[in-house]
């Protein structure tokens, strides 16, 4: 399939008209782009900040009229994730779409604007002893987190954002507002668009509001951590904990570029319950229960903004193998590698962004070849500009033809985050 | 939905009976006016499908029309005027009558009544292919007649003496019958031919204090091929304090005929049995063959259109008990001696589903010191015996038997225990198909195991009945 027709970029002469229209659409919260208003190194022309779903719809309608390519931005923590868009004229800043609209504590549900910081949401619902059971590794907004679907340790028990999102409101590329799901956890009326939008990198629509299911915050949490000297012990350790009756909320492994490897198990629950379970886990791992504190690496990605960020997925039983392979291959290429894994079958890995591009490309290639032996995938979430060009960020994507057709239905001329996603979508 | 049939309810999710539409019965269809299946009973089915996974034919073929829900739907169609086609009759004939669906149904659909009425309709209104007809005639000329059956002991004699041989040659499908009889023969305890055929005394007196007077139905197949079971039943009852009355010249109870839609024949047999036991002066009629027990308990319904006889039939039916029921009712008095065997207990459909007797045999077995009872996976699914079904529909019965045999062997038990001669035969045949793997396990009736424990005889007596030794 040839790449979809893209509209000509915004003409200089058009800019002031567009600015005026946008200003009308979103209460004057619009400006020309400045330094730093860029996506993956690509500078934008305009920034608009709608304050409501209606304003967002108006903004996207103006964008449609003027054939502007649009990228949404929350806190901008993951704007460098994904491929570089084929172009961007307008950044829609979502931070005015903020606030916890409703917290139905008795129903364990919260309705929240897409630009709200996840931290703010946690604070509000925390007041009622509740939480969104999601670890936010990077300080995201709600919309940014949904669009890129990062994940932290507690995905083991609670799943990822897709499993917590029960309703969503979004604006289509043509400015039409649509919603799916609702305010009740159990609901099978209509297609689950929330799932489609989760991890869609802003290519299907602009998320303006989300509804989450919440969980009661556990009374007690305890980490049992031990150092693993022989990497071959990682797999058996994870398996032992998973097969036990301790129901951990998270089991993560840290394998730094230098220093000791650690596995840490998070137990959450009642006072007595956690105490006994922590004892059981400590016995399984042949260590002591310790003070229960999280290790310093807990809940953080192993990569920083200048690293090549890699995400590997695999069956639960292959986490140890996947980590060992990754470190072995990296060593062969003389690359330093740090990785962190969830026992749920996800390994995040980092290698410095200034490594030799061919070495990084080969590493990614070999990791993919290795993972083909079992089920799984290797994604490059982010890579500094010079490296990115030579990398296949996504690898093979089953179902790509259907994905292209879906994109085509919702955004036929590819105006939303064009090119940022799989297969050039 | 524009395509949906129009109806009174518009577009609501109605859990209504399947027959929400049978306003009037249309006798121009498959069913005539003589006792058609009751449209109201058909209407009780809410189409939930809960009965499907316990239906042996659904388990085998996975097709709606060979499931209870599908068969009820076919009945509905027939009532509404669909003609009796080969396909329709075929799906009714394929029903084993195991009644697992009755147990499974949360809505209380009386499939037993429905299929019985339907079988009569098929018998009258459908002409089966010639081979099928000959086969049926041959079977019904043999099985419900204890004396003819007894003559068949020994496959060869069977073949020649009954005149079956000619029928077999003509129909070409009767090769199976001798096999079945050979299986029966091989399962019969190794007694001499004369002794095994020797009738039981007409009365066996209670040991110790008499607690009840009971009659014993000796049955056709049980009496002819498993006389040891009848003897054991009489002994156990006596040891537990019963005077056991065993009338001579008992005929068939009529079960086979009822289950195959041969109503007149069934009534003839039943009447004789009722008369025999009415005059025996017993408090209970004890039955040790599940199929017989289940139809005797329904004698009342069989005579529904003869009020006077119906009353007598119902009165007798009220006395009928499976031997395990009676023994649990009485409670143990005789001493149980240790019997160190592992047994797998197989629920005969006509005991578990038709009579709801599941707990009693297990209770009796569990009370034997040293005996370990194991459950068989998929216990609710029929072994394929189902009266003479294994003769009529071997293509279904065989795989069911194999499935049961595999599940039985998986328990690793020494002895397979069940309460129905048909099941023993059917599973034995399946074991035999498995060769050595299937020959390691012995078989016995519940009451034989109990007998061994009460008499402190070693388990080998019935364990000898392993196929290996034969």
């Amino acid at each position: 399939m040839s790449s979809p027709p893209t509209d000509p970029a915004l003409q200089a002469s058009e800019i002031s008209d567009v600015l005026a229209e946008l200003a009308k659409a979103c209460d004057d919260q619009v400006r020309r782009a400045e330094d730093g208003d860029e996506v993956g190194g690509l500078p934008a022309r305009l920034v608009a900040a709608p304050g409501s779903t209606r304003e967002a719809a108006d903004v996207l309608r103006v964008a449609a009229d003027h054939r502007l390519r649009v990228v949404a931005r929350g806190h901008g923590t993951k704007l460098h994730w994904g491929a570089t868009p084929s172009g961007v004229e307008l950044i829609v800043d979502t931070t005015r779409l903020s606030g916890v609209v409703e917290h139905a504590a008795g129903d364990l549900v919260a309705v929240v604007g897409a630009g709200t910081a996840l931290a703010t949401l946690q604070e509000v619902v925390g007041g009622a002893g509740q939480e969104l059971a999601f670890d936010d590794p990077l300080g995201s907004t709600v919309g940014g987190a949904i669009a890129t679907s990062p994940s932290g340790p507690r995905r083991l028990l609670r799943g990822t954002l897709r499993d917590l999102l029960i309703g969503v409101t979004f604006v289509r590329s043509d400015g039409v507002v649509a919603k799916a799901g609702g305010k009740v956890v159990k609901n099978v009326a209509g297609y689950d668009f929330g799932k489609l939008l989760t991890g869609s990198y802003g290519t299907l629509g602009l998320i303006t509001e989300a509804i989450f299911r919440l969980h009661p915050r556990p009374v007690r949490s305890h980490h049992v951590t031990r150092t693993i000297s022989d990497a071959a012990d990682i797999g058996p350790a994870l398996r032992a904990v998973l097969a036990s009756q301790t129901v951990p909320s998270a089991v993560d492994v840290d394998w730094p570029a230098e220093g000791p490897r650690q596995v840490s198990v998070l137990l959450e629950g009642t006072e007595d319950g956690v105490e006994q379970r922590a004892d059981a886990v400590a016995r399984l791992l042949d260590t002591d229960v310790g003070d229960g504190a999280a290790p310093p690496w807990w809940g953080h990605y192993p990569f920083g903004p200048d690293d090549v960020a890699i995400k590997l997925t695999c069956p639960l039983t292959e986490v140890g193998t996947t980590m060992r392979r990754a470190h072995a291959r990296a060593a062969e290429h003389g690359l330093s590698l740090a990785s962190r894994a969830s026992a749920a079958g996800v390994v995040h890995a980092a290698t410095p962004g200034d490594g030799p591009p061919e070495a990084v490309a080969s590493l990614v290639h070999e990791l993919r070849a290795g993972i083909a032996a079992y089920d799984g995938s290797v994604l490059v979430l982010a890579a500094p500009q010079p490296l990115r060009e030579g990398l296949d960020l996504w690898g093979p994507v089953p179902g790509l033809a259907l994905m292209r057709r879906l994109k085509h239905e919702l955004d036929p001329v590819h105006r939303l985050s064009p090119g940022r996603f799989v297969g050039g979508i | 939905m524009s395509t949906a049939h129009s109806s009174a309810h518009g577009d609501q999710p109605v859990m209504t009976g399947v027959v929400d539409g049978v306003a009037t019965f249309d006798p121009s269809g498959a069913f005539d006016e003589h006792r058609p299946p009751d449209a109201a009973l058909v209407g009780d089915c809410v189409h939930c499908g809960f009965c499907l996974p316990t239906c042996p034919t659904y388990v085998l073929w996975g097709e709606e029309m060979d499931s209870p829900r599908g068969r009820i739907y076919l009945m509905k169609g027939a009532l509404e005027g669909e003609p009796m086609t080969d396909s329709m009759a075929g799906h009714f004939d394929a029903c084993l009558g195991c009644m697992a669906c009755v147990t499974a149904c949360p809505s209380g659909v009386q499939y037993d009544k429905l299929i019985e009425a339907t079988r009569g309709q098929v018998e009258r209104n459908h002409r089966r292919p010639l081979r099928q007809r000959l086969l049926r005639e041959a079977i019904f000329a043999t099985f419900p007649h204890p004396r003819r059956l007894r003559l068949l002991r020994g496959p060869l004699r069977a073949y020649q003496a009954s005149g079956l041989q000619r029928v077999v040659r003509r129909s070409g499908v009767l090769r199976r019958l001798p096999t079945v009889i050979a299986t029966m023969e091989s399962l019969a305890p190794p007694l001499g031919p004369s002794s095994s055929a020797r009738p039981l005394p007409e009365r066996v007196s209670a040991r110790g204090t008499r607690r009840a007077t009971v009659g014993l139905l000796t049955g056709c197949v049980q009496g002819a091929f498993f006389p040891g079971v009848n003897a054991a039943t009489a002994r156990v009852l006596a040891m537990e304090g019963c005077d056991v009355v065993i009338p001579r010249d008992q005929g068939c109870c009529g079960a086979l005929s009822v289950h195959n839609g041969r109503e007149a024949e069934a009534k003839k047999f039943a009447r004789a049995v009722i008369e025999t036991f009415e005059s025996a002066g017993v408090e209970r009629v004890v039955v040790n063959a599940a199929g017989c027990g289940s139809s005797m308990k329904e004698y009342g319904e069989l005579f529904a259109d003869e009020p006077e006889m119906a009353q007598r039939a119902a009165a007798l039916a009220a006395l009928v008990r499976d031997v395990s029921e009676v023994l649990v009712e009485l409670g143990p008095v005789a001493q149980r001696h240790p019997l160190p065997v592992t047994v797998a207990y197989h629920d005969a459909c006509h005991l578990a589903h038709a009579q709801g007797v599941r707990a009693q045999p297990r209770e009796l077995l569990n009370a034997i010191p040293g005996l370990e009872l194991r459950e068989i996976a998929e216990s609710e699914i029929c072994c394929g015996s189902a009266g003479v079904y294994n003769l009529l529909a071997p293509h279904a019965a065989e795989p069911l038997g194999d499935r049961k045999a595999a599940n039985v062997l998986a328990t690793g038990a020494d002895v397979l225990v069940t309460a129905n001669p048909g099941c023993l035969m059917q599973v034995a045949t399946a074991f035999r198909r498995r060769g050595a793997a299937g020959s390691a396990i012995a078989m016995a009736h519940t009451v034989e195991v109990l007998d061994a424990s009460l008499r402190a005889v070693p388990a080998e007596t019935f364990q000898k009945r392993s196929l290996l030794q034969k």
Partner: protein, 503 residues
Amino acid sequence: MATTAQRRPRDLDRLAARLRTVLGEGAVITDRNRLRTYECDGLAHYKVTPAIVVLPHTTAEVAAVVRACVDERVPYVARGSGTGLSGGALPSAEGVLVVTSQMRDILETDAPGERAVVQPGVINLHVSKAAAPEGYYYAPDPSSQQICSIGGNLAENSGGAHCLKYGFTTNHVTGVELVAPDGEIVRLGGKAPDPPGYDLLGAFVGSEGTLGIATEVTVRLLRAPEAVRTLLAAFPSTDEAGGAVSAIIAAGVLPAAVEMMDALAIEAAEAAVHCDYPQGAGAVLIVELDGPAPEVEAQFGEVQRHCRDNKAFEIRIAADDIERALFWKGRKSAFAAVGRISPDYIVQDGVIPRTALPAVLRRIAALSDGEQGQGTEGPSGVRVANVFHAGDGNLHPLVLFDESVPGEAEKAEAISGAILDLCIEYGGSITGEHGVGADKAKYMPRMFTDDDLDTMQMLRCAFDPLGLANPGKIFPTPRLCGEVPGRHKGVHPLAASGVAEVF
């Protein structure tokens, strides 16, 4: 959806012949009596006799069937065990019904990897049975689990009593192989989490057979809990029972299940399965906690306290598995059991926020009794039995009537519809687990705007531009695929994307 006029003239006999060459004689049904046994699912009230029924065994056979249907422009409908309660598997009169009941092999159970790979016709409960020896089970447990298929569960995103704690089918499916409406075989996800690209799997689950036919499903297996404690608490009325539910949840306890039945539902269950619930109860709650033994012990006392504080007059604690099974038996057989106390009834499925439970129940009672108080059966009253997954606000009102009494059916229907309006009024949903199907399509516009529905149908168009996969379900009015959204004009998007050539 392509309009009928655009379709080539159909020759169903030719299609049947083609299908016979692919599937074999026995797997293609055209006999009228046989076809008729497939004319409805669990919602027996809607009936359409399909033109052809096929019983494929393999993915390749399903793909061949779909391709044949595409060639002939004949609609097709997937069917699992036919227990759906929204008419989702209602056939098309001039279409093919693709029944998966012979695709019933459990291909793999991988306990340490916490996955099972199964064919779509595998019965839900059989997955748990297969995993049980290794101490694992499949969590979603619809009341119909003894017969409903994994394919049907996937299509309906089925829930069950234990979904309060563990989530629904969508949270327990990690991979699917499907035959897309163009006949292509596509794999989405697998044993590993987070497959790259759009979460098409997430959208496919719950799509009611409109996006293709699942031919292999990878599901999660969970470690069987160390401890399970179940109690049955009897309350004077549903108000107190509802209060107990709120108190339990507010205390931060997340039970595995919280199920409620009102007096009439109890009566039906007693009649059917003799579950021997406490006499005189206006409502019973079944509360089940599971998990690590110390956690369960710590919270079980708390649950009992909340029940007592809310006037439970009897609390029974299951002593063993047999007793627990008996508690559940009453609940799980309740739908079908209502057949024992009423000749006809409507099973409704709606959702409300849990906290609205007492208010909504009072409104339902008012609906059913006219102005009368709760539980009485006025002369013109339509009786409503209530069974629900109280923990997540999923109501199953059972509206009883006797079709042979003139006017009753209409009244029951009116009340049933009014209950859905109540659900929407309180911010809930018109279906929590039974799906929209043929039955509730007309209610969709009450819950969603035209734009919402139009957007959803874009997904459908992406998968099925010809509109052949389970047409007429979910959406009240089909969208013409190829309609360009918004004001953009240009090349026909299907042609531009190359899709058009595929068909």
